[in-house]
Amino acid sequence: MSRKRKGLLGGALCLMALLLFLSLRADRHYYLVSTLVLVDTMLPFFFLFEKRHPQARDLAVIAVMSAIAIVSRVIFIWLPNFKPVYGIVMITGIGLGPEAGFLTGAVSAFVSNFIFGQGAWTPWQMAAMALAGFLAGVCFAKGRLPRTRIAMCLFGGIVYMGIIGPLLDTCSLLLMSAQVTKESAAAVYLSGLPVNLMQTAATVLTLALVGKPLLGQLDRVKKKYGVMEAEDEN
């Protein structure tokens, strides 16, 4: 970890501690505080991206991956809660590493919401998609998990059902109810279950069908143009 990274991480953590402290003082502005914490966790990634002075070629590759993710979300606009976009973002993370996965996820969520509608949910969706890409990148880096179809599907299903779905449910919980009680939380999380199951199915299906071919194409681009190679080595 470089010094700059440490500084950024420290700053973000201090900010988060301050926010959490404020949330204890200020009563019941759960949504505002949690969204600020969320944005705060995402900021270091954007800073690092900016500071690293990425090459135009690196930008082009992740822009293409984001474009594919957005298109995959938009062409399924007629089928609610069944979007392959999380699968595509995970593939980006697997193929290009955690930071590229994070950026692709966050930016895809932000840009595709120009079509689906921006709102109070945007930071949460950005965080959810970014997390999908980041986790995929971390778990599949350096051969920690094998890049087989079964491993990818299992990973996608577990991560969506266990982490991303509940995260998005938390957003709707905070948006829908003024007071968070045990009952309202249970109601929101339970009613989110079928939606999450659908979305998990979509993610697993995407990883199973297009995972291998898309990773093959990413490897081809990496080899042909020598992009994002440095990231693989660290």
Partner: protein
């Protein structure tokens, strides 16, 4: 001048402030002002379609407010019934205020989505993070290009008898599956070509600036000063607890004094400022053209 053509930073400042107020002010007068001006602004922006949309939203909010009132039973003023399931005035008021706030925020978001177009967002982004903004603008350009390329590839496939609607069922599935693969390969190579041409034009070199259409001129300055004045008045109201109301156990708010009306006027002026700018300037231009 329309607010739409003003500097994006001013527009963003306005919307952030106004949505924040709409979400947190619980006093009924402020809710009504915010809701009504958001409604009016959407009609100014989008015309008749926004009018019917806004009416539906208002009706929905009132309905949901009543539903909230039916399901909550706090408060001291009982309207109907005597048991623990009685319909109380306070629950009804609280429900209407809650849904009024939600409706106002939704309307403001709708207005913001109309006014803050993609180019403005990318421009503002570019001020903070030029590379991220470049990434987003590459992306926004790529999406329609991909759609166009998809059409080309489809036609080419059909031209050689390998379209998604040709051949046996098995062949059709295979042909359809080849389409996304062809598109992604094209998109990567195209992106690479663009990256190379960017590099050969000096991307990433020192001293390169980004072109933008916006400049911060006197109109924007005036607007910011006026808005800041109104905002400080509204902030004063908030500090005096004028914007707050409690609905439990009974409706209570800071007593209305003559100063309250100053605050109401300031909030209304702030909420309506984009409409006022839009319509007054429109009137000015039509008069001028009639005079000629």
């Amino acid at each position: 001048m329309k607010t739409e053509t003003g500097h994006p930073a001013v527009t963003l400042l306005f919307f952030v402030c106004i949505i924040f107020c709409a979400a947190f002010f619980s006093h009924p007068v402020y809710i009504v002002i915010s809701f009504a001006s958001a409604f009016v602004y959407s009609v100014v922006l989008k015309g008749r379609r926004a009018f019917s949309r806004g009416l539906c939203l208002s009706a929905g909010c009132v309905l949901l407010g009543f539903v909230y009132g039916l399901y909550h039973h706090f408060g001291v003023t009982v309207l109907i019934g005597a048991s623990a399931n009685a319909l109380t005035l306070e629950a009804l008021q609280a429900g209407l205020s809650l849904w009024g706030r939600i409706g106002a925020v939704l309307l403001w978001l709708y207005d913001m989505n109309t006014v803050m177009t993609k180019d403005k967002v990318v421009y503002l982004f570019g001020k903070i993070s030029p590379r991220l903004s470049l990434y987003v603008s590459i992306l926004l350009r790529l999406a329609p290009q991909i759609r166009e390329k998809k059409r080309h590839i489809k036609e080419a496939q059909e031209g050689i008898g390998k379209g998604a609607r040709q051949g046996t069922l098995f062949a059709r599935v295979r042909n359809a599956g080849q389409l996304p693969s062809a598109i992604t390969s094209w998109a990567f190579d195209h992106g690479m070509e663009e990256a190379m041409s960017m590099k050969s034009r000096g991307y990433g070199l020192k001293g390169r600036t980004a072109f933008s259409l916006y400049r911060f001129d006197h109109r924007d300055r005036t607007l910011v000063i006026v808005m800041a004045t109104l905002m400080s008045l509204v902030l004063m109201a908030a500090l005096f607890d004028q914007t707050k109301a409690l609905y439990q156990p009974s409706f209570s708010a800071v007593p209305v004094t003559s100063f309250s009306f100053v605050f109401y006027a300031a909030y209304a002026a702030l909420c309506l400022s984009p409409c006022l700018v839009d319509t007054s300037v429109r009137g000015f231009y039509t008069q001028k053209s009639v005079g000629k």
